[in-house]
Each structure stands twice: as structure tokens, then as C-alpha cells.
Amino acid sequence: MMTNEDLMLAYQMGDVEAFTKLYNQLYKPLYSFLFRYTGEEQLSIDIVQDTFEQLQKKHLDFDAQKGTVKSYIFQIGYRLLINKLNRRKKWRSFFPFLVPIQTTSFSTEDKLAVQQAIAKLPEKQRGVILLAYYHDLQQDDIAKILAIPVGTVKSRLHQALKRLKEELKEDFHAE
């Protein structure tokens, strides 16, 4: 199987099929990250589509020496997500009744304590813990995706772990 970097290089050389393969290899991890971050299925789907649309436009900007394809795509996705969430907040403050009711895809019964705990984390800490744990990304990559210094990644991860453990304290005792 070709690596993401090989596929990206092929796409940059004009191989359109490589883009489809790249999409097939990366849409699942990107969707998982976005869904765990927002808890909203439709929003996550839209951002995945927008991310790859933007990748089609900006694929020549990718430089393999600056980072991996995965972190490049996550970076685009995260920026789009934050822009969308900020825009939504603005709309909500101007026209509270025009904003659609959020249909969170976790059902109340099935919602695990860990999902609630992650949702309660401040956005800044949530991004770090999701990328570090579920996507096994290195600090450098996380720093690039979130556009923060590496030192901040470390401190946010530490704070997030502390907070998660506090939130899940009861579940720890139950085990």
C-alpha cells in the first residue's frame, strides 16, 4: 500500500486517482477527530468534505519536509471547524432563533461517561487530547495542527489529563 506522502506526491504530479486513494485512507481518521470534538454528525461530514475540497485547491502548497500529509489535512480540517464554530457563535448571538437546534448524535442513554467528560473539556484542551490519544500524533504535529507552540501542547495535555481524571473519578472508583 502506498503511503500518504507517496499518494500526495503522485497527486501533485497530476495523478487524479491518487487523490481518491488519499481520501479513502484519511477520511475516517479525520471524521473521527471531528466527531469526537463536536459530537455532531452532519457538521463533521460537512467539514470532511470541505477539507478535501480545499486540499484539491491547495495540494501544491504541501511540502513533505514541513510535516506529514495527515497533519496537513488535519490542520485544514481543524481551521475550517474553528471558523465554522466561531461563525455559528456570532449568528447565535445576533439571531438566537435562527440557529438550528443542535442534534447531538450521542443518545442520552448510550452516552458514555468518557464522551461527556471529553465534551466538558475546554476546546483548547479537547483538541490536544484527541489528537494525542486517538490519532497518536507527535507533539510537533499537534502544535502545527492547532497552531500553538510545542510547550503549550505539553501543558494543555497535562491539564486535560488532570481534568479528565477528575471528571471520571467516580468511574475509576467503580472499577
Binding site: 470532511v48 490519544y133 495535555l157
Partner: protein, 84 residues
């Protein structure tokens, strides 16, 4: 560095592993256009702006009386302007 952080947190790891994500099938095949998304947005349920009023008896009564009161005020204003 990050791996070391996680190694210490076995219980937390077990908890985090429970959070699985189901990937929607339509993501692999379906590509919604911006226009489709806009239509979905327009068609999605929105909050009732008068919900707080209509949920209480007093508020509901006020909502019914308000058009009448406005009509009366407009009529009086017109009557006053004609009288001048």
C-alpha cells in the same frame, strides 16, 4: 514523550478506548454540494422565538391581545392626526 504520559494512565486509557466512532456510510460515497447543504440548513428545525411567551398562560394571553392593542394604538394615532 506522549507515550510516557499515557503509560501511567492505564485506567484512563481503558475509558478513552470506549469512545468509538461509527463512520457514516454516506461519507464514502456521497458528496453533498453546497446548495444541498444550504437546503438542509433551511429545512432543519429551528428554535421557536416566541416559545417563552407561548409556554405560559399569561404570555399566551399577552400574545393574543398584543395585535389588538397595536391595532388600537395605530387607530388612535390616525384619529389624532386626522383631528389636527
Amino acid at each position: 514523550m506522549l507515550n510516557k504520559e499515557w503509560e501511567k494512565e492505564e485506567k484512563l486509557q481503558r475509558q478513552l478506548d470506549q469512545f468509538e466512532v461509527q463512520i457514516p456510510e454516506k461519507l464514502a460515497t456521497h458528496k453533498k454540494s453546497r446548495w444541498d447543504r444550504f437546503i438542509t440548513y433551511l429545512g432543519s428545525p429551528a428554535k421557536d422565538p416566541l416559545e417563552e411567551w407561548s409556554s405560559t398562560t399569561t404570555g399566551y394571553a399577552a400574545l393574543r391581545i398584543m395585535p389588538l392593542a397595536c391595532g388600537l394604538v395605530l387607530a388612535i394615532m390616525q384619529w389624532l392626526s386626522i383631528g389636527r
